[in-house]
Point group: C2
Chain length 322, copies 2
């Protein structure tokens, strides 16, 4: 709202019938009543764009995005997979592309990945003469997230059990939720005009040789038990450039901070590092700053690598509409 | 040449009559003979773009750029001032803009600043909800440059003499050559759609409390004598956002490396750091990677903040022409 956005409607299955202002703690009534009847809301809405913030996988958000596009709304989503779904869910991606084009609107996935894990990295390749590999390392502190995230990352479980599950090819609780860094590498690959050849995903439990206290577990994790997971994605391209990224999600020791760090190896070598990247607030700011770009874009499923360079919208968003 | 560029002509006042391949150490003849007769070369050239690599100030390069534009060539230059000359040299900037438009070609200044000091920073503001200030720190090792650079930065001189010169408002040998960070801040200000209100430049000699060896001086600089300069630029904008950057140019101690570091302060705080940024090779790669963007751009004086996001051109540059 501080960027001149007028929130016209709100759809959810929780807090139905309540004023959105009360629910989000805006300090005043917004005179927008949360509804669980999406069809009625979308049939009558005067909005330009819908923000769909529901889940990571395109499969889960597909029916919701489809409804919004068919109602003639542009859609921006926090779904990590939507950041680049052309190889992970090509059928759904193509369907949403077709529906968006038929309705003259645009569908885009943005969030923390937009600047930090995709576009900042490809922008830095502007100083590359030759690229051999692009390698990234992202870390998050599980103690800062709700308890279900710690469950996803098998925090507090026996390392031997988790290794056995991995060896037997069993799905860990995290399941398909760790698609984010894969999508970021695919955003980069698309941006540089390269072609994916093979994709490899690896997961490793992280252990310590000493006990560590965990806020989210409200207790101590003994030495040798799992404090989190290292998830690595490796993508080879037809052009011979290797893309590799590791997401470390674990309970931090007192002196550790979030890091986003990338190396573009080749001629020359390029290094970039963000200390304490703003994972939560940065996600919402990037979504808001992207709104005019999405409304301005050509109709279809347009990924963040194809949009203009994202910058802070200093003025009211209306100022940036074409 | 590794990006499919055909070098058609070469103009210089040195090495006249020699083959360009011999002069640049290409390992073979390029069958391009260096000429000092710019008018004849430009009258007959079939080139699409001229790379003008002569000097920092727009005043110095102006007649050369003008000739190239009038010959119907797009121009890309390493001139730091050309990166954003609308406030430092508005008359010359407007003249070149007019000449470029009249001839249907584009004039752009690029180099190390393109990604590292301008566009990477503004791209990171894409995660900003509110910006209070953008602050940068760039360092270079004078021992890695030719001796005249050490003279520019008054290396080895008495700190008291330099402080007296600064207090008396005398020009230091570096003169107008330290315009680069100013231009980068102005690129950022332009990119974010802000308006410059005031510009302040400050210079401080750097001293140590112990002796230090200097390669370029071929000797030792005693404790208390100048090992380099801190140059600070501070720009206030009408919108209240402060831009501040310091360039440290000095003789390094053995454990020091080049750093490019920026802080975007506000909500949230954003930090970015490049260790060992590729100042020399990165300059040439960014110039080469920009060539298609400059040829594709609308006619006129187009600054790097207005061009598309710079990325490595993996294929032959021809592939990226519209």
């Amino acid at each position: 709202m501080e960027k001149g956005v007028i929130i016209t409607d709100a759809i959810d299955v929780k807090n139905v019938g309540e004023d959105l202002g009360d629910v989000i703690g805006a300090g005043r009534k917004l005179n927008v009543i949360i509804s669980d009847d999406a069809d009625s809301v979308l049939a009558e809405t005067g909005a330009d764009i819908a923000l769909v913030a529901i889940a990571t996988s395109l499969d889960t958000i597909f029916p919701h995005v489809k409804k919004c596009l068919e109602a003639g709304l542009n859609v921006i989503t926090t779904s990590e997979e939507a950041s680049y779904a052309w190889t992970s869910s090509p059928g759904l991606a193509a369907k949403l592309d077709r529906i968006a084009k038929e309705n003259g609107v645009t569908f885009t996935g943005s969030g923390m990945q937009d600047v930090f894990w995709a576009n900042m990295v490809t922008n830095l390749t502007g100083a590359s003469h030759r690229i051999d590999s692009i390698e990234g390392q992202v870390s998050i502190n599980i103690d800062k997230f709700p308890a279900f995230v710690a469950d996803y990352y098998v925090v507090g479980r026996k390392a031997a059990d988790i290794r056995e599950m991995i060896e037997n090819g069993e799905k860990l609780p995290i399941g398909d939720e760790v698609v984010c860094l894969r999508m970021d590498l695919e955003n980069q690959i698309s941006d540089l005009g390269l072609t994916t050849k093979s994709i490899k995903e690896m997961v490793e439990p992280i252990i310590l040789d000493h006990d560590i206290k965990s806020k989210v577990l409200k207790g101590t994790i003994p030495a040798g038990d799992v404090i989190g997971l290292d998830n690595t994605i490796e993508i080879e391209t037809e052009e011979g450039i290797l893309f590799r990224a590791m997401q470390t999600a674990k309970v931090y020791q007192p002196d550790e901070i979030d890091i986003n760090e990338w190396w573009i190896k080749g001629e020359p070598n390029i290094h970039v590092r963000n200390d304490n990247p703003p994972t939560l607030l940065g996600t919402s700011s990037q979504i808001v700053n992207r709104i005019p770009d999405v409304i301005n874009a050509e109709p279809g499923y347009v990924t963040i690598d194809q949009l203009p360079k994202l910058t802070c919208k200093i003025r009211s968003l209306e100022h940036y509409l074409k």
